[in-house]
Amino acid sequence: MSGLITRRGLLAGISALGAGAALSACGAKTGSDTSKAAGAKADTSGDTVRVGLLNSLSGTMAISEVTVHNALLLAVKEINAAGGVLGKQLKPVSQDGASDWPTFAEKAQALITDSKVVATFGCWTSASRKAVKPVFERNKSLLFYPVQYEGLEQSPYIFYSGATTNQQIVPALDYLKKQGLTKLYLVGSDYVFPRTANKIIKTYAKANGMEVLGEDYAPLGSTEFATIVNKVRSAGADAVFNTLNGDSNVAFFKEYKSAGLTAKKLPVLSVSIAEEEVKSIGTQYLEGQLTAWNYYQTTPGAANEKFVAAYQAAYGKDKPTSDPMEAAYISVHLWKAMVEKAGSFDVEKVKAASDGIEFDAPEGKVTVDGATQHVHKTARIGKVTASGLIEEVWNSGGPIKPDPYLKGYDWAADL
């Protein structure tokens, strides 16, 4: 028996060595690509120009990112049908980031170097954005990032079409305060976004006479929430601020309901649960709970009706549309408007033309802020309905100027 194991151990060792060699070969290849790539230019010579779509089409993030990819393709199709950009048709080039951050960097490089794209759209997690940021900066190529995030970033080569903290988390706190829900309990997954968000929440609470009674983190993927729910229940809070991600939400809300807690007794405000997630958690566990976004499928307006109808015609009648999808969809349209204003695909000219670009988006009118390369967006608080959609209960009244570093807020000076 031990002989067998040793021989197999040896085999395993050899194959590991082989894998190691293959890996380092890959590394070397990427390295040389990178040095070559510094001078790579987008190709705008033909009748078509290529745009890069960089999403996880496989792996754990695929659930969410495939919907964003679909929304991007829809926008490209619409633009092509309307005559393209500067008379040129767009040819989407999809690369699979595979839910793996180094892969994102590699594929971003491939899009810029091999496909010679004029701009790239995509990424979801902050980790993937941080991985590709240096690639786009080094190559002076543009990325449009469509997901709400933790703020505190402003890359010259990234446009952020999702919300930064002052367009989602801060208005959500304003709303809770206005409702008289001043004693909060914070529950989140244990990684960078919830911890950063909770830091902002605690600072806000201190300055606004609110109280944070407890703060708990569960490892990503954790499905055991009995203790956390016990703590929440005995803390005497008015509301729970939820920054959990993925499967944990399912377990958390099932436990929450089992413990006899309801939206009426102790509302939960979530920042990572959109229409798609409501479907997978179960409406019976979420009904009446609050969410904070900039767009819901139910947002009124002709632009949204058109968007929802076009999306469902292309991808299925029962498919919901959500905030990140809408932000992805508008990012392509915003880029088109920038290019047309600049009269050129040149990255620096596009950036210079970006300030003040407007688009009649499904969420309402959005305007690009050239200084921060973020977008003015309306904040919306929604309530999950029995049908599984989210209906708006409050909005900020108009688009909020993006402030990724929260410089305009006195209470945030210490952050």
Partner: protein, 294 residues
């Protein structure tokens, strides 16, 4: 005081979940010595069975009760098939079994993704099992009570089968001395397959019960597989009693630590505790002779 009682109940209910997911494994890993990495996917199969049955039946309570025996058959058959196709050829090669069943686990996850789609699916829990009852100020979630009762029922049933039935005797005989069992006229191949069938079927039933508290998706099984192995290893390979005690001790330990520190810290402390315990008692709480690992 209420807090202590509440947390004790939480601990017991975490223990019940651990027990339920580890029970099938005490048979396949514990009794037979097969490291089956696809055990978690049998749990997943059970969870999806609940989902599939609920669509045509509609009534949440009826479909849940019906899902228990159906999931036992579905997961059990998958297990028996796996045993017949692959594992029986690898009984003397534990490392190969590990790799092969891991591969099978990945294939089953992909299969679930192809059939049911990558996002989680949801089932409706019966109304009775979504609330809680209050006893002396302690809040007892009915879904947790159901899982606790069901876990204990499964243990009692399994113990009764192993102790009193002819099949149980044959299983124990094969585990203790395969050659002698064979010359005594026991068809060891068939006993192996039956054992695997029961062990996998138990995982399927665990999957049904877990739909009450956790997500149902392609990766449901991977959420539980490590904990299941921990319980079996600490309890002592092949001992039902060890698994029961370990599950509840770990559950209580986890709940106390989670309450006084954080979930992440509790996980780390429990793991370190287990490593230290296994240094002291590598054979686990209780021991029995097994075929291929010792």
């Amino acid at each position: 005081m209420t807090v202590i009682l509440n947390q004790s109940f939480t601990g017991v209910s975490i223990g019940a979940v651990l027990l339920l997911i580890a029970l099938g494994l005490t048979l396949t890993f514990g009794q037979m010595g097969v490291i089956n990495m696809a055990h978690g996917e049998f749990i997943m199969a059970g969870a999806y069975t609940t989902y599939v049955l609920q669509k045509p039946i509609g009534d949440a309570g009826v479909s849940l009760l019906l899902a228990l025996p159906v999931a036992f058959l579905v997961a059990g058959s998958m297990g028996a098939l796996l045993e017949w196709l692959l594992i029986r050829r690898l009984y003397t090669r534990p490392l190969d079994t590990l790799l092969v069943t891991w591969g099978v686990s990945l294939m089953l996850q992909q299969l679930a993704r192809d059939i049911f789609g990558a996002p989680n699916v949801q089932t409706t829990a019966p109304g009775l099992l979504t609330g809680s009852v209050s006893v002396a100020g302690v809040n007892l979630a009915t879904s947790r009570l159901f899982i606790l009762g069901f876990a204990l029922l499964c243990v009692a049933g399994l113990a009764a089968i192993l102790r009193t039935t002819p099949l149980g005797r044959r299983i124990r005989a094969v585990v203790q001395n395969r050659d002698l069992a064979e010359v005594s006229g026991i068809a060891t191949g068939r006993v192996d397959r039956t054992t695997f069938f029961i062990g996998s079927g138990l995982a399927g039933m665990a999957g049904v019960a877990l739909t009450l508290i956790g997500p149902i998706g392609p990766t449901t099984g991977t959420n539980y597989i490590v904990d299941a192995f921990l319980v079996v290893v600490v309890g002592g390979i092949g001992r039902l009693r060890g698994a029961v005690i370990t599950a509840f001790v770990l559950g209580l330990l986890q709940s106390v630590l989670e309450y006084s520190t954080t979930v992440s810290v509790a996980k780390v402390v429990v793991l370190v505790g287990i490593v230290a315990f296994l240094q002291w008692r590598p054979q686990g709480l209780y021991t029995v002779r097994t075929r291929s690992l010792v």
